[in-house]
């Protein structure tokens, strides 16, 4: 496996990533020699309620995108249910701009297993899966080997380390579908079906994998749990800002000098992250905008970026912290092209279940591709905005919102770029008023 890491930056707070740069960091020996499973050992001495209380105290929030408090999620599982309970890890990592779970799995896979064991202990689960996107085949094989080692060393399977706890864990391969990152679609896929999302409620905590109560979190969320338990919820919470505990992995990409995956405390200033961690905007250019946490987050214009990076501050700024996939855009970025590409993605990945998402993403894709070529009329720009409004909040699952949000942000904040494109294309095709549709072509 190729090295994905660079030297740690002084502004980083290495907690999750603290074993990454050790020699043979992915081996069980290195792991055990460096506080590996210490959190889990401690968890074994705690009651499930104590574990959950500690996670609640840590204000650890979901690192997959939505930022839901992890302790709360764990507490929703009905531990008294006669059904088996399951733990599922979301390693679908498909949100454009995101590449951090991959780093955890590659460099410190046992950390994830430790986190999963803690969750399993908290909800009384004896079985779990890690759902890994199909493209990460090397990580699937890698995790299979890691899991086999964990079994061999008595960290998985029956009576783990003599604790009386049993836990089976296995990988599950995806096969190319962004929607399978959505928790309920992931569960469908785990059950061997199309990745269409499920009706909610019931939520996975009540009816999850194989119709049983299930905790489902992102790789990074579970990976934070060992330190939450080992060092205490308060310690973890204090690393971040109120209600936004801990550190998180930030994957910076786009027009910066030093793209990469960095671990930062929640609340770090966004401009600082770009300028200090990532070495500033490349080629001496100026910052235009930032996509803060994956393509579905509304872009922030340069002047909006001087804010702390935590869930609540970003929400206040009209965007989201999302998956930690920060994409930096320099002054030359063609925002129409960018949005057109984003919509191509959502149209390709819409599962097709509900009307507004299925038709909306494709329609937007078509208009945006046209506008990018300078074909269309000014009214098309309004249509783009209105279609996004019509999708937003009306779709079956959040994928529709994920497509609508960046659209609204980009058309509203960079409308002049759309207009300029139309003007510069001299022989622009403008559909005659009243034209309903072009002929059907096969």
């Amino acid at each position: 496996m190729e090295n994905l890491l660079q030297e740690p930056h002084p502004l980083e707070t290495v907690l999750i990533s603290r074993r990454f740069r050790l020699e043979n960091s992915a081996s069980l020996a290195t792991f055990l020699a460096n506080e590996g499973f210490a959190g889990f050992r401690k968890a074994l001495t705690m009651t499930p309620d104590e574990i959950i209380a500690e996670v609640k105290l840590s204000s650890l929030r979901g690192r997959g995108g939505a930022g839901f408090p992890a302790g709360m999620k764990w507490s929703f599982v009905d531990r008294k249910s006669p059904k088996p309970k399951y733990v599922v890890v979301n390693a679908d990592e498909s949100e454009p701009g995101t590449c951090k779970d991959r780093v955890i799995l590659q460099y410190d896979p046992f950390r994830l297993i430790e986190g999963v064991l803690i969750a399993a202990r908290a909800i009384g689960s004896e079985r779990g899966w890690i759902y890994i996107r199909g493209e990460y085949r090397y990580l699937i094989e890698h995790m299979n080997a890691v899991i086999a080692q964990a079994y061999a060393a008595g960290w998985l399977g029956k009576d783990i380390q003599g604790s009386g706890m049993n836990f089976d864990f296995a990988t599950q391969s995806g096969a190319g579908a962004y929607e399978c990152g959505e928790e309920s679609a992931l569960l469908e896929s785990l059950e061997g079906k199309r990745g269409n999302p499920r009706l909610k409620p019931p939520f996975p905590a009540q009816v999850g994998a194989f119709q049983c109560p299930t905790v489902l979190n992102n790789v990074e969320t579970y990976s934070a749990a060992p330190d939450v338990i080992l060092k205490g919820g308060q310690y973890y919470a204090d690393l971040g800002t109120p209600k936004n505990g801990g550190t998180r992995l930030l994957c910076i990409s786009g027009h910066v000098n030093r793209p990469g995956v960095y671990e930062v405390r929640l609340g770090m200033n966004m401009l600082q992250a770009v300028n200090a961690l990532a070495g500033g905007v490349w080629k001496g250019r100026k910052l235009k905008a930032i996509v803060p946490g994956g393509s579905s987050c509304p872009v922030l214009k340069a002047e909006e970026c001087d804010i702390p990076m935590d869930y609540d501050s970003l929400a206040k700024a009209g965007s989201m912290l999302g998956s930690g996939g920060m994409v930096v855009l320099d002054e030359t970025t063609d925002m129409v092209k960018l949005l057109s590409r984003i919509m191509k993605f959502y149209a390709h990945e819409s599962c097709g279940w509900c009307i507004p998402c299925r038709e909306g993403t494709t329609w937007l894709k078509k208009i945006l591709a046209r506008l990018d070529d300078g074909v269309g009329s000014v009214s098309d720009i309004d249509t783009v905005d209105q279609l996004a409004v019509n999708m937003f909040g009306h779709t079956f699952c959040p994928l529709g919102d994920a497509a609508a949000m960046p659209t609204m942000a980009i058309v509203r904040k960079f409308r002049h770029e759309f207009e300029a494109k139309l003007q510069s294309a001299s022989q622009a095709f403008v559909p005659a008023p009243g034209t309903r549709s072009l002929p059907i072509v096969k």
Binding site: L199, G352, H394, T435
Partner: protein, 692 residues
């Protein structure tokens, strides 16, 4: 009394049982929440988003099709937000829709048209190129035009949940998502067409109806299917005197909108080029066309002459003719010709069941009971092949009420997919197995036992004794084969039982004996084809045949009288569960007469007084005189089914040895099926019994 929840919808106070969906609660107070994917009785999808409503205190619009009512909920279904969102859903839906309404079969009865008319925007901003895929033929009966599909998944659900077939699935994804058939490029299924029927738009079209007509150009006749004995209601769409479609879109009748391949597509025998349209008289050994008056006079004269000689008559009736015709025929035989040599091909031992149930109250199940019973035991019948409606009811009962279904059959049956237990036993050993099931059966509160023709005579009595031993309410259905097999029995087309199962003082010859009697002078066959399997022994016998086709029997006749099918006449029929329903004439086939009219005219020519031969008058007489048939007229007149009341008294045994399963399957229907090119054209035909 379920817990009631109080809520307000558009300012109206509504109280609905806990768990009710908002869309249903609104319906209760006359408020329509538009929906495509929501379909009562099938699983929830929330896919079309047409039903989004505004609920106070909820941040987003909510789908009314999946949202259960809650105490104090305040719902708005016509607020500006809701109205706008609906408009946008329709605008989205129409972007890739071909808008080919002028040439679409569904035009005029399309839910997408109606919704757009009522709730739509009136214009579209979509100016880009549409997603297009060519239409595909999935079977002779089912075509799929993907661009018209709105992906409501109704078809997928009716096939999987309703039929238990799972022949349709979902392919591709995103805007390319489409419905796919189970066998790669085609369907291998029951060909029931329920998917075509339930499709709100013209995406799934019927191989027999497509491009034939506009809905407003047709006349409609709601009548009863003439194939198997389940008695499904079917609405015939008739144009220029011809049936061009059959469906039950108004969801009336005992079957709701269910129909099987035979009911939906198997009407084409009516217009078969082989239909007889003129009487035939044998002249110089050859059957030659003749006029009705010539043929009727000839028959009347010969019968009168034979009767005066004290000749030996044999009369064979039909399992497809109406109760009135059957009643009139037996009356003709018994009082007109003075013979009780009358019979028909029996397909189930109803007399034994009625006898065994003597003294029982409320022990005959209706088709509706199969949906409400807590448990059902099916013995010796492949319901999905032979009684598709009953199988559908059972599946619905399991789906909605988790009914416990048990099957004991000589081969695997489709019900085993969800049955509590599905046991395969050697033929004849079915009853031996029952004691082992007794403890389980007792648990469920009530039971309906459905049994096939293999259970007859003493076995029926043992079965009822077993039912009695359970100590729970048990009801029964004795399965018979054809659309009016039951009516033939009830109306006394039997040598030893008169109408209403009254013992015949002087029993006559039964069917095989009639055919075997060397001294038979006249044989009158109405709507059946006995010579297909057995020859006539008597060399010098005057044979009259009334039929739709020149069957083996008709070919051997002296006079052939072309008769009308069930779809061309009035009257009543009785289904396998003893429910009486009314036929309504749809098309008219030139030259044919109803059997009742033929009988009446012959009686008149012979100077017999058998009563007026209008079906209403005969039915009145049946209601007055036949035990169990004093059924509720208004129910029947308005297209409903009225169960006959049980005979409740001793019924003499009537030759169980003569009972024969017709062996018909989903795609066969005795002689009728042989003249249905449609049924013969489906790849799955003729179908096998006990195929899983």
């Amino acid at each position: 009394m379920p817990d009631l929840v109080q809520l307000t919808i558009n300012g109206k106070a509504v109280s609905a049982p806990k768990g009710t969906l908002v869309i249903e609660a609104a319906k209760q107070v006359g408020i329509e929440i538009p929906a495509f994917c929501y379909y009562e009785g099938y699983s929830l999808q929330a896919a079309c988003r047409m039903c989004l409503v505004e609920v106070e205190k909820m941040p987003k619009l909510m789908p009314g099709c999946t949202l259960p009512v809650a105490e104090g909920m305040v719902v708005h279904t016509e607020s500006p937000k809701v109205v706008d969102s609906r408009k946008s859903m329709l605008e989205f839906l129409l972007t890739n829709h071909p808008l080919d309404c002028p040439v679409c079969d569904k035009g005029g009865e399309c839910e997408l048209q109606d919704m757009t008319f009522r709730y739509g925007l009136g214009e579209s901003r979509f100016t880009d190129i549409k997603q297009h895929v060519d239409e595909k033929q999935w079977s002779p009966l089912v075509y799929f035009d993907a661009p018209r599909c709105i992906l409501c998944y109704r078809c997928v659900r009716v096939c999987e949940e309703g039929m238990g077939v799972q022949a349709l699935g979902i392919g591709k994804r995103g805007v390319a998502t489409e419905i796919i058939p189970n066998a790669g490029d085609h369907l291998e299924c029951d060909e029931c067409g329920n998917c075509v029927d339930i499709c709100p738009v013209g995406a799934l079209t019927s191989g027999t109806y497509r491009y034939k007509s506009r809905p407003w150009e047709m006349n409609y006749a709601g009548t009863i299917c003439t194939h198997c004995s389940d008695g499904c209601k079917t609405t015939l769409s008739v144009r220029n005197g011809a049936i061009i479609r059959a469906n039950n879109r108004d969801r009336s009748g005992i079957n709701g909108e269910f129909l099987c391949a035979k009911g939906r597509f198997g009407y084409d025998f009516v217009h078969s080029p082989e239909r007889l349209q003129t009487p035939l008289i044998r002249k110089d050994g050859k059957l030659e066309p003749a006029s009705w008056s010539e043929a009727l006079s000839l028959v009347a004269a010969r019968l009168s002459e034979l009767k005066s000689r004290g000749a030996k008559f044999g009369v064979l009736g039909s399992t497809h003719t109406t109760n009135e015709e059957n009643y009139y025929l037996q009356k003709f035989a018994r009082t007109g010709l003075g013979t009780s040599n009358i019979d028909h091909q029996r397909t189930g031992d109803v007399p034994a069941l009625l006898d065994a149930l003597s003294g029982h109250e409320n022990a005959l199940a209706t088709v509706g009971d199969l949906y409400t019973a807590k448990s059902v035991l099916v013995i010796s019948s492949d319901l999905s092949q032979q009684h598709p409606l009953l199988a559908f009811q059972l599946r619905a009962n399991y789906r909605h009420n988790r009914a416990a279904v048990y099957t004991v059959t000589p081969g695997p049956v489709r019900e085993r997919d969800y049955a509590a237990r599905s046991v395969v036993v050697a033929p004849g050993a079915e009853l031996d197995l029952l004691p082992a099931l007794a403890d389980e059966l007792k648990k469920h509160g009530n039971l309906v036992i459905v049994f096939g023709p293999a259970i007859k005579g003493g076995a029926v009595h043992s079965l009822v004794a077993f039912g009695d031993s359970l100590g729970i309410p048990v009801k029964y259905i004795c399965l018979v084969s054809d659309s009016n097999s039951r009516g033939a029995l009830d109306m006394g087309l039997l040598p030893d039982l008169r109408p209403g199962y009254q013992a015949e003082a002087q029993p006559g010859l039964a069917l095989p004996e009639i055919l075997a009697a060397p001294d038979l002078d006249a044989l009158w066959v109405v709507g059946s084809n006995p010579f297909e399997t057995a020859p006539l022994a008597s060399r010098d016998c005057f044979v009259v045949v009334q039929d739709l086709f020149l069957t083996e029997t008709a070919q051997a006749a002296d006079v052939v009288l072309p008769s009308a099918s069930a779809y061309e006449k009035s009257g009543t029929v009785t289904n396998t569960a003893g429910e009486v329903q009314r036929l309504k004439p749809g098309p008219k086939v030139m030259g044919a007469k109803s059997d009742l009219e033929i009988l009446g005219l012959i009686a008149k020519e012979m100077g017999l007084d058998l009563g007026i031969w209008s079906s209403d008058k005969v039915f009145e007489e049946i209601r007055r005189t036949v035990r169990g048939y004093n059924v509720a007229l208004p129910v029947i007149a308005t297209g409903g089914a009225s169960p006959t009341t049980p005979v409740n008294g001793h019924v003499p045994a009537s030759r169980p040895d003569l009972i024969q399963d017709s062996g018909d399957t989903l795609f066969t229907s005795g002689t009728l099926g042989r003249y249905s090119n449609v049924l013969k054209s489906v790849m799955e035909a003729p179908g096998t019994l006990y195929k899983p």
